[in-house]
């Protein structure tokens, strides 16, 4: 017999060279033939047949019909054949669960095989078969394998626990596998440790609150020991796990850093990046004056630079991460500008990223070099890259004042090239330079004007028109220039139309005598011949301003503009912190939190940097679950993905996070209320329980309703219950009575009045639709224009029955804040379009800012203090609220109903100072100090916010809430 097997072996070798033939069989009746071959007595023929089956499977043919025949081949001592059968099983077992049971016996037997490779293979494959009945049988073999004498089997079994957990989490817990897995962290073999860590980390991710990865100094020590000994991949698992640990103090932090730094010299870039992540995170805890802190900073730069000599794909990942690191700690790479210079042969994605980092690193010291480079890039071929380079020159000018002049002259040189898109891009950035340095570079306007005709992109046209309008008094033929644009007014995009309207009005205010005709022309174009509501509104405003009070018009239109800031595209600090905790991962490549692109429970936990030891520097609130960017997750990245929906049949329903379903959030709101109410009852910071009575009497706040279930007081709230959306409790949010938004005259008989409310964390727009026409109205739909806070309907407008003449229907439309954002004037303006079977109607209304005050807006006192100090005094605004006859506690209770939270109260010489915090849906924090003097009905309110433009509106909310 021996010669026979020899022969087979040889033939096997010979056939190896022609494996590709399996890919070509496409005959009819192929399945039938394969069936016969699979059942052949000859081993070699069987193996050939299985190979053909696998090849068909690879190219996507359905060969599931062969299931029993393939499984029959499983009982073999030929390992290659066995592996092929296993591969087949993993693919098809799910579709043939009953048949798959046939394989169980062999698996169980293999798990007892004397050969460790076969034991491991069996347990590895079994874990990949997602059939309930098989998983039942998996438990016993897995338990044995976890304690196998051979490390190869143990490391495979460790991963198998994660597989099983993915199929049936309960089973894993019931069987006690988690404990066994934890024990493996102390295993003598480093690779077993690494796989156990990987498995535990993955399982822990789906149980955010379990203390599964119970990291303590002892386990950390074990991990650090294994780190020195295991494979490159194992090192990555361990480092990624370490990054989740929060050291107890700066000493522990330093000692971990010391043991992680050697990894920076590893050849594997992923090991290096994961080590950088651990260091960046733990560094946060080290006192800045520590010598070691400086040493560490110095150690980080070289490995980051080395990453740039890796293959281009890795360079891309590295650059995206460096972009974050540079924003967080600019000092690390400030001297390394040169390595980010673009090479001619870099792939485009590397070029664009390098350019981004160059701008971030640009400073007075290196600006000359940077500019020379950027100018070079502006002559390259790739249009996107060239545009970005031109834009970068503009950003340098804005960032480094000393270089502005040189930048402007470089831009002028580029304009001289007459390359169309270069010219347009240059004009757009020159506009920004004018805004930053007014009255400094106007001498170049003449050159810009020469290129007027070649501009065909709206952004460039709008920029040019802005420049002409802004400097109309210095351009002799400004009127001619603007007039030339006016000819094709209706073909222009909205952006250009609006800009043109404003520019001509500016021109008129500066040179009234010659331009009267022009201004009349543009006003009539804008108001009478246009159907764009934005344009019409702006037109009317100007018209009325000009006709009633030209002096006021001048003050409004020619008002001094705020300067634009240096860095416009910085990542928001809380998001940046989170992304730093995700260095090396996809989140850091996309610059989005994992929740924005990962489905389900995984990765939804927000990561935070640890607070620095012994300092109050970090102003961010430490409550992890609620705050942060999760409030308004950025839109799912893939825009083209939507088109592909069918192809991938992945769920393309609107991201669930953005449209809160009514039920759960109602509960949350209620709970929050209780919490808040109890807090104030129990004294806490406010210490106002005796005054509750007064508060109750005066203010129909949420608390009584929530605590006692008492009927709500106050007429204004009564009609809340009529409205559809909200069930149960009013939150105490003050609702303005409905006002008329759309008169019937303007909307062919449809009259809309409405108001806004926030109930249990849900924003609602309550409207009464009245039909004052003669015919029935149907097919209602609603849409919002982009607005300052991204308000958008969270569902369709539910008008179920047709609206017959003289009938009124009340509807309540839930709103989300995940819509597109555009700054409106005023900030709280909302432009709405309502459609019915007759026509589309437009109106605009203003919502109280308190609509956007979220329920978890209570800041920690410490954080409040630090934030207050941190916000520059320029951002403080002071207001007077007059004629309020409430004492401070009653006022604070009343405000709490609208999610304005009192954090602390201080009484100084008969004057109560209330410190309050508000958080907006877009995570902007507003801090306020309210001074109440007994006997004085006038309150003084100081508001501080990083976005000072909201202060005015916050003040309005205070006034509204307190007076009603």
């Amino acid at each position: 017999m021996e010669w026979a097997s020899q022969l087979c072996e040889n033939r096997g070798l010979g056939s190896k060279m022609t494996d590709s033939k399996y890919f070509t069989t496409t005959k009819k009746g192929e399945i039938f033939e394969l069936k016969a071959e699979l059942n052949s007595d000859k081993k070699e023929k069987k193996k050939e047949a299985v190979k053909k089956v696998i090849a068909s499977m690879t190219v996507g043919k359905d060969v599931s019909a062969l299931f029993p025949d393939v499984v029959n081949c499983m009982q073999t001592d030929n390992l290659e054949l066995k592996k092929l059968v296993y591969l087949y099983l993993m693919n098809y077992a799910k579709s043939q669960p009953d048949m798959a049971i046939m394989a169980v016996n062999t698996f169980v037997k293999d798990c007892e095989d004397p050969n460790p490779l076969i034991r491991a293979l069996a347990v590895r494959t079994m874990g990949c078969i997602r059939v309930d009945k098989i998983t039942e049988y998996l438990c016993e073999p897995l338990r044995k394998c976890l304690k196998d004498e051979d490390p190869y089997v143990r490391k495979t079994a460790a991963v198998c626990v994660a597989k099983l957990h993915d199929i049936n989490a309960q089973l894993v817990e019931d069987q006690g596998f988690l404990d066994t897995l934890k024990d493996l962290i102390s295993d003598s073999n480093p690779m077993v440790v690494a796989n156990a860590v990987a498995a535990l980390s993955e399982i822990a991710e789906s149980h955010p609150n379990s203390n599964l990865l119970d990291l303590n100094p002892q386990t950390i020590n074990k991990l650090l020991t294994a780190l020195n000994e295991c494979t490159e991949w194992g090192q990555i698992f361990i480092l990624d796990c370490l990054a989740n640990y929060t050291p107890r103090d700066d000493r522990e932090s330093q000692s971990i850093c010391e043991r992680v730094t050697p990894r920076l010299s590893h050849a594997n870039s992923a090991v290096v990046l994961s080590a950088v992540k651990v260091l960046m995170k733990f560094m946060e805890m080290l006192p800045k004056d520590l010598d070691y802190y400086g040493t560490l900073l110095k150690k980080l730069a070289p490995p980051l630079v080395t990453l740039l000599s890796a293959e281009p794909e890795l360079q891309y990942v590295a650059l995206r991460n460096i972009n974050l690191i540079v924003q967080k700690r600019p000092e690390i790479l400030k001297h390394e500008m040169k390595v980010f210079f673009v090479k001619y042969n870099d792939p485009i994605y590397v070029k664009l990223e390098k350019l981004d980092i160059m701008i971030r690193l640009a400073s007075q010291a290196n600006i000359a070099q940077v500019l020379a480079e950027l100018k070079e890039y502006a002559t390259e071929v790739d249009v996107d890259f060239v545009r970005k380079a031109v834009r970068a020159i503009g950003r340098c000018a804005i960032k480094v004042e000393q270089s502005a002049e040189r930048c402007v002259s470089t831009l002028l040189d580029l304009i001289q090239t007459k390359v169309n898109y270069v010219v347009q891009e240059a004009i757009v950035v020159i506009k920004d330079i004018f805004r930053k340095y007014p009255n400094k570079y106007e001498s170049v306007i003449a050159t810009l004007c020469e290129n007027l005709d070649s501009l065909d992109e709206p952004e460039a046209r709008a920029a040019m028109i802005w420049i002409v309008g802004e400097y109309a008094e210095r351009i002799d033929n400004a009127d001619e220039l603007l007039e030339s644009f006016l000819e094709g007014f209706h073909d222009e995009s909205t952006q250009v139309q609006l800009q043109l309207l404003t520019a001509i009005v500016k021109l008129f205010l500066k040179k009234p005598t010659e331009t009267q005709e022009l201004v009349q022309q543009v006003l009539s174009l804008a108001t009478q011949d246009s159907d764009n509501p934005d344009l019409r509104d702006r037109g009317y405003i100007y018209w009325r301003l000009l006709s009633t009070d030209p002096v006021a018009a001048k003050e409004v239109v020619l008002a001094e503009k705020p300067l634009i800031s240096e860095e416009t595209d910085l990542i928001e600090p809380t998001l940046l912190e989170e992304l730093i905790c995700h260095i090396g991962t996809l989140a850091s490549v996309y610059h989005k939190p994992p929740s924005a692109f990962v489905e389900g429970s995984r990765g939804v936990q927000h990561r935070r940097l640890p607070p620095r030891a012994g300092s109050v520097e970090s102003a961010e609130s430490p409550d992890v679950g609620q705050s942060g960017p999760s409030e308004a997750p950025p839109a799912v990245i893939p825009s083209q993905g939507d088109l592909l929906g069918d192809l991938l049949n992945l769920d393309l329903a609107p991201p669930t996070a953005t449209v809160p379903s009514v039920q759960p959030s109602m509960q949350m709101g209620a709970m929050d209320l209780l919490g808040g109410g109890l807090d104030s009852l129990l004294g806490g910071d406010i210490g106002g329980s005796p005054s509750m009575g007064a508060g109750l009497g005066a203010a129909p706040t949420a608390m009584p309703a929530a605590l006692g279930g008492a009927p709500p007081v106050g007429g204004g709230l009564g009609d809340l219950f009529d409205l559809g959306g909200g069930v149960g409790m009013p939150t105490g949010f003050y609702v303005v009575p409905k006002t008329l938004w759309l008169p019937a005259m303007k909307a062919k008989g449809l009259e809309i009045s409405g108001t806004f409310a926030r109930r249990g964390g849900i924003i609602q727009m309550d409207m009464s639709l009245t039909n004052k026409a003669m015919s029935v109205m149907t097919d209602f739909a609603i849409q919002f224009n982009r607005n300052s806070f991204g308000l958008a309907p969270a569902g369709p407008l539910q008008v179920l029955t047709p609206l017959s003449p003289n009938q009124t229907i009340d509807v309540s439309l839930p709103l989300s804040t995940s819509g597109p954002v555009m700054k409106m004037e005023p900030l709280n303006n909302l432009q709405v379009a309502v459609k019915n079977n007759i026509d589309v109607f437009y109106f605009s209304c203003q919502f109280p800012l308190s609509l956007l005050f979220v329920e978890d807006g209570k800041m920690e006192r410490q954080v409040f203090l630090a934030t207050w100090k941190d916000i520059p005094n320029d951002n403080e605004a002071q207001f007077q609220i007059k004629d309020i006859h409430l004492n401070s506690d009653a006022a604070s209770n009343k405000l709490q109903g609208s999610n304005i939270f009192t954090i602390a109260k201080r009484t100084v010489e008969g004057q109560d100072m209330l410190y309050q915090s508000i958080k907006l849906t877009n995570s902007i924090w507003v801090l306020a100090e309210m001074r109440v003097q007994t006997g004085n009905p006038n309150y003084t309110l100081s508001i501080k916010c990083r976005a000072p433009e909201v202060c005015q509106f916050v003040y309005q909310c205070y006034e509204m809430v307190l007076k009603n």
């Binding site: 190896k16 590709s20 399996y22 890919f23 690879t58 290659e80 591969l87 004397p114 050969n115 460790p116 490779l117 491991a120 089997v153 495979t156 993915d166 480093p190 690779m191 077993v192 796989n195 990987a198 490159e232 991949w233 050697p262 010299s265 590893h266 050849a267 594997n268 290096v272 994961s274 490995p303 080395t306 293959e311 281009p312 890795l314 891309y316 990942v317 040169k338 090479k343 001619y344 485009i348 994605y349 070079e376 995700h582 090396g584 991962t585 996809l586 490549v589 996309y590 692109f597 990962v598 489905e599 990765g603 799912v636 893939p638 083209q640 939507d642 592909l644 192809l647 991938l648 992945l650």
Partner: protein
């Protein structure tokens, strides 16, 4: 973790498809083909997100390798893994081509099963893999051999097996450097760096402990301070080089390097890359390119390029090639060169000037007249930089190997018995001069 791994040919047909996670469906295979392989524009990113699924891809000749995931995976690790996968395949069957992949698809599936478990990369050292993934079955093994395999795959020294024997203990060290330069037309160095590799071929018996030393400034300075008697103190200063950063093969004990800056390791058997390093200071630039481009009217361009070699006259540079880009509307070129051969290659839009050998401290010149077709294209010619290729027999960074000591206590050979070879090769990386 990685949810699936696909290999496609240039047409987008699947050659290998292995799914590790339940959240990746068969349709992901098509999504990548439609959106990336068949995409109209050039690839704008190596990471693509399609309908909440992320695809990582690398290309080798015209084969696409794509890893797919729906989770927030370690992106750097995924790319490192894809490169490693390419290395492993190359080690098994040579060039990665459609034919080779089809011929070895069973082997590839077997490898994928071993080196990626539930999407977690496992030991992927070819040395270890080759002991048990052989395509020939492993029935003949004794129990002892089996456990040796598993202990090697999972062990601390996963890259070397026990019991290696050579009649003659020998090792080869290659210091391979690529020198990169970006120079302005005026001769100002905009950026220059050397990225070097030390490649070792070891044919040593047993489990030898090795120690590698080079003229690293930090080490030399430290020794100089010690004030010992040897001439290391004398040679320090000029002779040592400042290494910006270095990375090591996983056999090197990193913590020891971190604390003592000594490079000690047990090497894998055969050829491998011991270390990579980067220097930016005091680089010897072997060639200087002096370009002169003059536009004569709208239809003619005069180009003159001088190259100067800048190293010891006794040394010879080889395989010198200067590539001078020409505008797209070039209609004819006349070239005169003093040395070597020059040709205008229309398909590459460049004049390629080749010189076989050139000694140090020499100079050579080429001049060309380029005739242009008149075009009404407004866009100016981008003037790509002039690039150079060459090979020189020294290390442009100045790196010198000081020693490589071999200790093997169990076997009876000593450091003196090992035959050692060292070779230095400096090649051009991206060596460009703007014109």
């Amino acid at each position: 973790m990685i949810g699936g791994l696909f290999i496609y040919n240039h047409k987008g047909e699947v050659l290998i498809s292995r799914v590790y996670r339940d959240d990746i469906g068969r349709n992901a295979v098509d999504a990548f083909r439609v959106n990336v392989i068949h995409a109209r524009q050039q690839v704008r990113s190596p990471v693509t997100n399609i309908a909440r699924t992320s695809f990582f891809h690398v290309k080798r000749s015209n084969i696409w390798l794509a890893a797919v995931t729906k989770q927030n995976v370690n992106a750097a690790m995924v790319f490192e893994f894809l490169y490693k996968m390419c290395d492993v395949m190359t080690a098994y069957f040579g060039k990665i081509s459609e034919e080779n992949i089809k011929n070895n698809f069973v082997l590839i599936y077997e490898l994928l099963d071993e080196i990626l478990d539930f999407g977690y990369p496992q030991n992927s050292e070819t040395g270890a893999l080759k002991t048990f993934i052989t395509q020939q079955g492993i029935k003949g093994q004794t129990k002892e051999e089996q456990s040796q395999i598993t202990s090697q795959v999972t062990g601390q020294i996963g890259w070397r097996r026990e019991g290696i024997k050579y009649r003659r203990n020998e090792l080869f060290l290659d210091v391979l450097e690529s020198v990169n330069l970006l120079m302005s037309p005026q001769g100002q160095v905009l950026s220059a760096h050397v990225s070097g590799r030390v490649v070792m071929k070891s044919y040593l018996s047993g489990m030898p402990e090795c120690k590698f030393g080079m003229n690293d400034k930090i080490v030399i300075d430290k020794q100089g301070k010690g004030g010992t008697t040897d001439d290391a103190g004398k040679s320090s200063g000029k002779q040592s080089i400042a290494i910006d950063d270095c990375t090591f093969h996983q056999c090197v004990r990193l913590s020891k390097f971190d604390s003592e800056r000594s490079i000690s390791f047990i090497p894998p058997d055969g050829e491998y890359e011991l270390m990579r390093y980067r220097t930016t200071k005091d680089i010897i630039l072997p060639f200087r390119v002096i370009p002169l481009v003059r536009e004569v009217g709208r239809t003619k361009l005069e180009v003159k390029v001088v190259i100067k070699s800048n190293f010891k006259p006794s040394l010879l540079a080889q395989k010198i090639e200067v590539r001078i880009p020409t505008p797209l509307n070039t209609s004819g070129v006349q070239v005169i060169c003093m040395k070597g051969k020059a040709k205008y290659k229309a398909s590459e839009n460049a004049i390629v000037w080749k010189i076989k050998r050139m000694a140090g401290m020499k100079e050579s010149q080429i001049s060309a007249e380029i005739e242009l077709l008149p075009t009404n294209d407004k866009k100016k010619w981008a003037r790509p930089p002039i690039s150079m290729n060459f090979e020189v027999p020294f290390a442009p960074s100045g790196l010198k190997v000081r020693y490589l000591k071999v200790f093997e206590s169990k076997l009876n050979y000593s450091d003196h018995d090992v035959i050692k070879w060292v070779r230095y090769i400096g090649r051009s990386g991206i060596y460009e001069t703007r014109c």
